[in-house]
């Protein structure tokens, strides 16, 4: 099957364009935008890991290594599209317009972090694996029913394909021809379980055959491949041609979460060598250097701007008002039931010391 699902690359590991047909679509501006977003989310990710180590946020799921997959796919979206992330996809949500402060709040255990910016269709991170897939199908189907050209994208990992929700989601989308893009980031490990123990198939893309959905297997560290293939899939969706499964092959350098120790189950040397040879950011930088786009000075200034933006978000996070206990109660129902109302009053009384 792997022969049928060859890895699609637009740019190779040395940063050379290997598919000339895209030449006309690649501008200096576009690559600069890519670069800026890659640096931005990587800066955020590193900062978040260090915040966790200092006890300033809780457990955190890092995505370092998967930046091209997240930035490339999110930049292909249009303003009114829907984004259904998992817990490791805030690189995509922040690229699509989520606020850094809110993402940090989420990791600090604050429900407030789940509220997207006004007008942005960003759903909350799916914590139980694969549960977000049927939601995306439903939301996309709703757009279709409304007669818009808006689509939905849903993010999930390799492990998620073992869950029933994956199969049920794909089947429904196929039957309904829902305008949804199933964006799979295959980073090869579901926490500790390697892909070969997760499934017998060599690819995830091939699973689409069973549902008669088009699929493509792309180099997830090649931001051009990610961007253009996602654009295509979205375009199909908008045109009423139904869902697409994209398998974006990538790698997470670090742990599953800051509470996990990857050395327990894999040789971290592999991460290091991948970082050396196949880093999504490095690849884009090489590409830009070949073209003479974006000099050192500009890159440094971007890095500085991103660091500043992230630091500012951390400052906002720490200045954010303390948790208000009413939040627990006020949003369970539109109108609280007497049980909840009474429990709230009791808690507030107790906190006031009555």
């Amino acid at each position: 099957m792997i022969e049928e699902f060859q890895l699609v690359q637009v740019m190779d590991q040395q940063g050379e364009l290997v598919q000339g047909e895209y030449e006309k679509d690649i501008s200096e501006d576009l690559t600069r935008t890519f670069y800026r977003h890659l640096i931005r989310i990587r800066t955020f990710d590193k900062k978040a890991v260090s915040l966790q180590r200092q006890g300033r946020i809780g457990t955190y799921a890092p995505f370092e290594g998967q930046e091209a997959s997240q930035v490339g796919s999110a930049l292909a979206l249009q303003d009114k599209d829907w984004l259904f992330p998992s817990y490791r996809d805030h690189g995509a949500t922040m690229t699509f317009g989520h606020s850094l402060l809110h993402i940090l709040l989420f990791w600090k255990g604050r429900n407030e972090g789940c509220v997207p910016p006004e007008g942005k269709n960003i759903f909350t991170p799916g914590i139980p694996i694969a549960t977000q897939l049927p939601h995306a199908v439903g939301a996309a189907f709703a757009e279709k029913r409304k007669g818009t050209r808006n689509a939905a994208i849903v993010y999930f990992g390799d492990g998620a394909t073992s869950e029933g929700d994956f199969h049920e989601g794909l089947n429904l989308a196929s039957v309904w021809e829902a305008p949804v893009v199933f964006f799979n980031q295959n980073n090869h490990y579901a926490i500790s379980v390697p892909m070969h123990k997760q499934m017998k198939t060599k690819t995830i893309a091939q699973k689409a055959l069973a549902y008669d959905i088009p699929s493509v297997r792309i180099d997830g560290n090649d931001i051009f491949a990610v961007y253009f293939e996602t654009l295509k899939a979205l375009e199909r969706a908008r045109n009423g041609d139904g869902p697409t499964l994209i398998e974006s092959v990538t790698w997470r350098y670090g742990a599953h979460t800051t509470a996990d120790d990857p050395t327990k189950y894999r040789d971290q040397q592999e991460s290091e060598s991948r970082r050396k040879d196949n880093d999504p950011v490095d690849r884009l930088m090489k590409f830009m250097k070949h073209r003479g786009w974006g000099d050192e000075e500009w890159m440094t200034s971007v890095q500085k701007e991103c660091a500043k933006e992230v630091d500012l978000a951390v400052e906002e996070l720490e200045a954010y008002p303390a948790a208000d206990p009413s939040v627990i109660f006020d949003y369970v129902f539109a109108t609280p039931t007497w049980t909840i109302q009474e429990q709230k009053e009791k808690l507030l009384e107790r906190l006031r010391g009555e």
Binding site: Y87, G109, I127, A160, I191, S192, Y265, A323, T337
Partner: protein, 331 residues
Amino acid sequence: MSTLTKMKTLTMVQAITDAMRVMLQESEDVLLMGEDIGTNGGVFRATDGLQQEFGEDRVLDTPLSEAGFIGAAIGMGLNGFRPVAEVQFLGFIYPAYEQIMTHASRIRTRTLGHFTCPLVIRAPYGAGVRAPEIHSDSTEALFTHMPGIKVVCPATPYDAKGLLIAAIEDPDPVLFLEPMRCYRSSREEVPEEKYTVEIGKGKVVTEGEDVTIIAWGAMVKVAEDAAKEAADKGISCEVLDLRTLYPLDRDLISSSVQKTGRTVVVHEAHATGGVGNDVLAIINDNSFLYQKAPTERVTGFDTPVPYFGFEDFYLPDSKRVLAAVEKVARY
């Protein structure tokens, strides 16, 4: 216990590992299955080293598929094995709820005992460890309400090992709840060898005269702290650790609440439909005339377990328990 018993000092999670090791050694029928339990030794290290010791055939890393592997465990159970399945968090058991509710719990009934399901499902549960959403659920009542499955919940390393061995030996399905907050918080002397703690029996943790505090899991420590604080105020509390949530230890509850006549039930699960209500029913049935005050319940709220930034508001703490103790004592 004989004085010759060799002891070792273990945390609860180590005691759980030890119980599984003892049972894996004892019987080839016992096998473990779950996500990340092999090479990784489990997300809480509960199965640390067991795959290396017993092989990939007996300690199985499953795909990410709770309904799938618990369903499969049922199949293995009815075909002669004694599977111990780990779900990473109780909050992730829901895909498998159908398998448990519609099959595991009623196979014996359905087939008049021809097929049985000697299955143990281990599930870390509960709040207080600053975990993300869903990870902190405490929905034991969804299972005590389900006919045909026993539910146990240790609060100490000793009870954890003894109860888990008893659960694996039990001929019927058992949900084994592991309070995450207790996993590593303290250590205790645990016998090296095999022993059991009887399912269906609670225990008196602290003896007292005035008020009975009934708790399980991570709330036992909270109850004990409250009892200490109450003692400073001159109220003597008896703390019960139920250890088994289905079937409840009616005799233990009755004897204590008949002595004190005043009761506080503590659980971190939601108030409505919580196991505390079943405790109340037992008091009502057996000990109504002994009661000197209405029983107080200190529980979580009828809200989803909040994000951990709000966790401290949600979780019963010793202050809340103490206030309830004072209320029933003064009634």
